[in-house]
């Protein structure tokens, strides 16, 4: 099977098909959803979407890392990252289809 990368356009297209929104409004609604999730994460809140998964912002401390190519030690600054924990349903769906 040929692997494909879906983009905003594919999801907007699905909204147009399933919900009947105009292409313009589909794109706008998708953007709004992504913005709402991003803003909650930036505010330090986790976002829990049942049957999909949970996004959680995490604080990482400063640590000493190494450039894997050169082996030179370098400080990795303290930073915030997002962790995503997929729901049980999502994991099951992905495994069911891969077995075919």
């Amino acid at each position: 099977m040929v692997r494909r990368t879906l983009t905003r356009q594919d999801i907007s297209e699905a909204l147009f098909r399933h919900v009947g929104l105009s292409k313009h409004e589909s794109a706008h609604m998708l953007e709004t959803v992504l913005d709402q999730i991003s803003n909650a994460l930036i505010d330090g809140k986790s976002v829990k979407l049942s049957s999909f998964g949970t996004f959680t912002p995490r604080q990482k401390r400063e640590r000493i890392g190494r450039n894997p190519k050169t082996g030179v030690a370098a400080t990795i600054n303290a930073r915030r990252v997002i962790s995503f924990k997929p729901s049980k349903l999502m994991k099951e769906r992905i495994n069911k289809s891969e077995k075919n």
Partner: protein
Amino acid sequence: MIKSDLIRKLAEDNPHLYYRDVEKIVGTIFDEIIIALENGNRVELRGFGAFSTKDRKARRARNPKTGSDVDVNQKTVPFFKCGKGLRQKLNEA
């Protein structure tokens, strides 16, 4: 924030849409992402992040409670990589 909070906020900001349509919009977006991953595809939402899958090999693990060996089958797990735009905004404050 949970899914119903997200739906309520979107419904408030878009009074021209029915509540049930907003529910359908949110449902469709996340379902499309899962369908793409089910089909072995990836989903790239620039500025937000990308969803993909990773294959995990079969391995012999241990039940931490009893210490007995357990065989874990080969499996595929979903993976999310935060996008550049979101990563920068997270670290601006």
